[in-house]
């Protein structure tokens, strides 16, 4: 009966977030087929790791497993050069990790109306072009609707860093839309 209980528990914990899981895996891997493999692996890991769930946000727990699975999957199945490219210079990187903000004067500031008209293809391309950590933070917040605390849990990073990454990611998207370069 214990295993029966485990299956029901897994169903309750994981099933509502499978679509979120697939979405996150796709945003991390950049590939739908890979994302499905990652989600399947993650479900197995979740099943084996059920004992590690001690309440709290089930969605954050599930997405943490998906994220970890995605990175180990990419490490195994992709050439290293494609993983974790960060285009920030070291000074900016440190600033972001501190939870700071040094935007300077924004070069491209489109009107809100122009942003509202951006189509899905342009948005996807702009998000895909973000550094990994910015992209994940933005996806978790603005597409999947996680709270900062949940993102902090999934990405194992302080809330201040989440805030800083999110602000930067959004700023870059706004500038990309303003550039009209896509």
């Amino acid at each position: 009966m214990a295993v029966d209980g485990n299956q029901a528990k897994l169903e309750a914990l994981v099933a509502p977030y499978l679509a979120d899981a697939l979405s996150l895996a796709r945003w991390i891997s950049g590939d739908r087929t890979d994302a499905e493999d990652i989600v399947q692996d993650a479900c197995l890991r979740a099943f084996r790791g059920l004992a590690g769930y001690h309440g709290g946000s089930a969605r954050a727990w599930v997405l943490t497993i998906v994220r970890n699975t995605a990175y180990s999957w990419l490490g195994k199945n992709r050439v290293p050069m494609l993983v974790a490219v960060d285009d920030l210079d070291p000074k900016s990187h440190e600033e972001v990790e501190r939870g700071g903000n040094s935007f300077g004067s924004p070069p491209n500031t489109p009107e809100a109306e122009m942003i509202a008209k951006a189509d899905a293809g342009r948005l996807e391309a702009a998000i895909a072009a973000l550094p990994d950590e910015f992209r994940e933070t933005l996806v978790l917040r603005d597409i999947q609707g996680l709270e900062y605390r949940e993102i902090s849990q999934v990405m194992a990073t302080p809330v201040g860093t989440v805030m800083s990454r999110l602000a930067r990611a959004r700023r870059r998207l706004i500038e990309t839309i303003g550039n009209g370069s896509l």
Partner: protein, 255 residues
């Protein structure tokens, strides 16, 4: 609300994000709101950020998982691959079909197969009611953001009294209530707002025997169901599935 205790930052350019994301406690939120009012540049940035948030949610909703992936997961978790641990256990799919577990299922129509037909009538009825309400001059018959006005309004109109909670602080203001009809039974429906979207939340008293609701999309409207004791709740909206799920979580979590 996460970062309410710790001083995350004093930088308005950062705080405006946390403000728009409802991540600030009331005193800090008020302070940022005042800064936005006083600073046209900050106000313009807030409008841009808000436009970006909306456009991302509306244009890039998470896709539902395919039945094929669902089958693969069932197979992976099921007995064949983990015979030593799960030899006598049914797969998820078999478990769901036989017990019809009363749990919220994944979004999309993928899981519809495990739901018997009885709920389909309810689904269609609540979506129809929602569409009718959108076409009517007012989506609610009693218009109020005060639950102490909305809840008593149902007295005498339906049997029992629905659970009414205020979720304005979570970004889902209560707009009012109305009585819908499912089959031949009058049922209470609450109306909540989210930006320019409306959410109809219908409560159906159907005892313990009902099957498990699931999330799905009908005629372009997202539908999310869940059970709470003797009641099945149905939330319908043109809002994206992720935010509708957030709404459901907030409603369930509200005192």
């Amino acid at each position: 609300m996460s970062g309410t205790k710790r001083p995350l930052s004093n930088d308005p350019a950062l705080l405006v994000h946390a403000y728009l994301d409802n991540e600030l406690d009331p005193p800090n939120a008020l302070a940022v709101a005042r800064q936005i009012d006083a600073d046209p540049a900050l106000a313009a940035e807030a409008r841009r950020i808000d436009a970006l948030r909306s456009v991302l949610r509306d244009r890039l909703p998470p896709e539902p998982i395919s039945p094929q992936l669902r089958k693969r997961i069932d197979a992976a978790i099921g007995p064949s691959r983990h015979a030593s641990r799960l030899s006598a256990q049914p797969s998820w799919g078999a478990l769901a079909a036989s017990v019809v577990v009363a749990m919220a299922l994944a979004s999309g129509s993928t899981w519809l197969a495990v739901n018997p037909a009885s709920n389909n009538k309810v689904r269609v009825a609540v979506v129809d009611s929602h569409i009718r309400a959108l076409m009517a001059p007012q989506p609610a018959d009693v218009a109020s953001s005060d639950r102490h006005t909305v809840k008593p309004w149902f007295n005498g109109r339906i049997a029992g009294s629905p659970r009414v909670v205020e979720l304005a602080t979570d970004g889902f203001p209560l707009i009012g209530g109305r009585v819908d009809v499912v089959g031949t039974t009058p049922v209470p429906t609450l109306v909540y707002g989210r930006r320019k979207h409306l959410i109809s939340l219908t409560a159906v008293q159907d005892g313990a025997g009902a099957d498990a609701p699931a999330a799905q999309s009908i005629n372009g409207y997202n539908l999310l169901g869940w059970r709470d004791d003797q009641t099945t709740y149905w939330a319908v909206s043109d809002l994206n599935a992720a935010e509708l799920e957030t709404f459901a979580q907030k409603f369930r979590a509200a005192p």
